[in-house]
Every structure is written in structure tokens, then in C-alpha cells.
Symmetry: C2
DNA sequence: CGTCCCCCTTGATGCACATCAAGGCATCTG
DNA sequence: CAGATGCCTTGATGTGCATCAAGGGGGACG
């Protein structure tokens, strides 16, 4: 029960009911949680670690549609199938909610439903930002936006905004931003050379010049 | 009241209550419905015509995040501000729901909330498809996907799937697909030359070879 | 402790699409 | 009806990022 308090931001009464149906599990890095097209049996909540969501084209081209961190939900589905695949980036802990039982709870607690809806709305807004990024930003702007985004989300989770933790590989970043690993690498190098960022140990990135990176991100 | 039946797919009891707060209005082509950042006073439902949603970068670069047709909703907001701008593509009829009153109704009719949630989920799935398109598809694949998407949505609205109605300009298509008008135009010309589509009067496009265009869209 | 492997970086080259430019055609307007 | 205007198409050229290629460094493991 106690451990459940880490299970996202729910309220007292809801928590008790959620506790009855939830299952907490730890997942190693680079493990598939579910695949696109799988029957959507569960809803998940990340409580620690990092998860990536992605879609594939038949020839293997990949688009990562989002990274999830502590507090984020995944598994919302359309007509009972997952619309994307989910894989851990690092060691991760997730809460698993059987979908059927979750739906019953939603009927019982409209507030809960409301919260989920508001989360979906936020995701939708994020998705639109990402479309703007993918369709209209340059490589440099994409990387700047990406770093800022990570930083801002870290703050919302109560972590430090700088240096930014970047737990995913260059290849994952590339597939998230619609670039190649080489371009991602070159762009990092270039931002470093400009004194805008510093690459630290353990996948951390120090934002040395926040103002400039903000300008770059917005197309300045 | 009668005219309200065109206001999307709601149920008897809900409809009566919705009728009290709704306002139907007709809007000319190329009119702004609301702008990104505006205080989100209303929720809208398109009952006829076409609307585009878009986001801008400070230097004017534009990404259209979606086109809306009869039955589609717009105006979901995060922290009371619209996350994008909305503009009519052609003459359009929309239902307007004051947001405050809509929220009260949502509390009263959980089913209504459920329906909105499911719509948001669908939009989210569509947004992820669009990310895949923007990040990883070629111009040819983008155009093929775009035409198929329009065709499929037309079917869902009960219209004919072929020829496809394409009410938006080349420039709008370009900003939706992350291309330029020139590339859109050239790609149409090329698909026409290959005998895969035919360009008809009045912005209609005949899909001559559905199988091939499907293959192209999925990266075949 | 050496070797393998993966990830990252850097360099050289190529190409898909952008940019720049111009002309056609339909619609609008005084 | 002449001129203006907006949208589309087509051609010539440019370029940002992809592709191809190779080497370096760190962690895993025998």
C-alpha cells in the first residue's frame, strides 16, 4: 500500500480502490512493455525510470512519439489495441492497471476520469508541439527544443532543471526528432563548440546559455 | 432545436441540455475562429465545412496540426488557453459551447465526458500517425498518406471515398505535411504521371490505383 | 587483461527537397 | 475589358541533412 503513494497523483479514496487492482513491477532496460497492435489489456503508470513509445514503418524506419518519465501514463488505446509500442530506455518501475477494472473505477470516480482526460489533453498539446518541431524546425532547433523540454519536465517532477539528465541514446533522440544519429551527434558537438551546452559524464547535459538555447528552440 | 441534430452524435437527454447552451454559427472561408494563446472560452463542433488548426513559429513558419470536418471537435485546452489557432478553410458551420457550462454538463453526464475522452484518445492516435509521417516519410509517402487519410475520413462521415474532396490549398497541404507548395505540386504531378491519381475539377482527386497508393503510403 | 561490441563522433560525398524564379490560368475589380 | 491578384505549376539551382565510411572509447565478459 505504502508503495502505492508513488503511483502518481491520486487521491485518498481513489488510491484505496486503485491499490486493489494495481500491480507494481520492475522492468530492466531495453525491454518491450507492449507492442503496437497488441490487445490493450492494461493501463500503465511510470513510477521510476524512462520509457519510449514508438511506431514503425514496415521497412524498419522508426518514429519515437514520446518519452515517459515518473508520473506519466501509457496505454490509452483506440478500439482495444495499442496504437504504438512501448519499451524501457533504462531500468523502470511501472504500475499496471487491468483495463477492464480500470474502466469500472472510472465509472465510479468521475474525478478520476476527469484527471485522465486532462492528461490526455496535455499529451495532445505536447503532440502538436512535436508536430511543429518535426515539420518545421531545423536540426539545431530540434535539439535545442528537445533539451529544453527534458529540462522543463524534470522540473515538473521536482528534479533539477540543470544539468539535464539525458538517459536515451543518440539513436533514440534521432528517431524522436526525425533526424539521424550522425546529425544529432554533430549538432550536440556544434552547440558545445558554441559554448551553449556542455556534455557531462553519465549522459548529463549542462545548459550553459539558457537564453540562447531558448531563442534557438523558438526559431530565433 | 431541429438544427441541433446535426450537432454531432449525442444522445437524447444530453442533446436537450446541450441545446440550451449551444450556439450555431456560420463562418465564411479564411476566417479565424480563435488564435493560439486566446483564453479558451468555448468548445466547438464542426457541423459542415472544413477547419484547419495550426501553430506558428515567430518567424512565420507554420505547421498545420490537423484539418477538421463535420463531426470533429475543437477547442480542448490546457490551462484555459488554446494551444493552437483555428481558421476556416471553406465556408463552415460550427456549434459553439461555452466552456464553463459545458464543464457543468460533463459533471452531470459522465457518458458525455466519456465520449469526449474517447475522441481525445482518437486524436492522440492520429497525432502519433502524423508524427511518424512528419519525421520519417518521404514527400511521395506523405502525399499518398494524406490522400488516403482524407478518403477514409470522408467514408466515416458517410461521403464517397473516391474521388477525394481536397478543399484546402497546396500551401495548406504543404504546411500540414512539412513540405513546400512546390514539392506538393510536383508530387501530385508525378503521381498523376504514374497513373496513380487523376486531378479533377473543383479540387477533387481521383484515386486511380488504390492498391499502389496504399503501398506508397506505408513506405512500400 | 585482452577482446569484443556498442555507441558515439567525425569526415567525405550524395541527394531529396528547399529556394529562387517565372509563367499560366482563373477570378476579381474598377 | 484591362489590369491586378492569388494559386498552381514548372524549371534551374542551392543546401541541410542523409548516407556511406571509418575510427575511438568505454563497459562487459571470458
Amino acid at each position: 500500500m505504502r508503495s502505492l503513494t508513488v503511483c502518481a497523483a491520486f487521491e485518498e479514496e481513489e488510491l484505496n480502490r486503485l491499490a486493489e487492482i494495481v500491480q507494481l513491477q520492475r522492468v530492466d532496460a531495453h525491454q518491450t512493455i507492449f507492442s503496437e497492435g497488441d490487445s490493450a489489456m492494461n493501463l500503465f503508470n511510470v513510477t521510476a525510470g524512462t520509457v519510449k513509445l514508438y511506431k514503425l514503418l514496415p521497412d524498419g524506419r522508426r518514429q519515437i512519439t514520446g518519452f515517459l518519465f515518473s508520473g506519466d501514463f501509457l496505454g490509452l488505446s483506440v478500439n482495444d489495441r495499442y496504437a504504438y509500442s512501448a519499451e524501457t530506455v533504462a531500468v523502470t518501475s511501472i504500475c499496471r492497471f487491468p483495463r477492464r477494472q480500470m474502466e469500472l473505477l472510472l465509472d465510479e470516480f468521475p474525478k478520476l476520469q476527469r484527471r485522465l482526460f486532462s492528461m490526455a489533453s496535455n499529451e495532445l498539446a505536447a503532440a502538436q508541439d512535436q508536430m511543429l518541431l518535426l515539420g518545421r524546425k531545423t536540426a539545431r532547433e530540434k535539439i535545442a527544443s528537445f533539451l529544453l523540454g527534458l529540462s522543463q519536465r524534470a522540473v515538473r517532477r521536482g528534479q533539477r532543471e540543470n544539468p539535464v539528465q539525458v538517459p536515451m541514446s543518440r539513436s533514440d533522440i534521432a528517431d524522436f526528432l526525425g533526424l539521424t544519429t550522425e546529425t544529432v551527434s554533430r549538432t550536440f558537438t556544434q552547440l558545445k563548440a558554441n559554448g551553449i551546452i556542455r556534455l557531462l559524464e553519465g549522459g548529463k547535459v549542462q545548459i550553459a546559455d539558457r537564453r540562447t538555447i531558448l531563442e534557438i528552440a523558438e526559431g530565433g
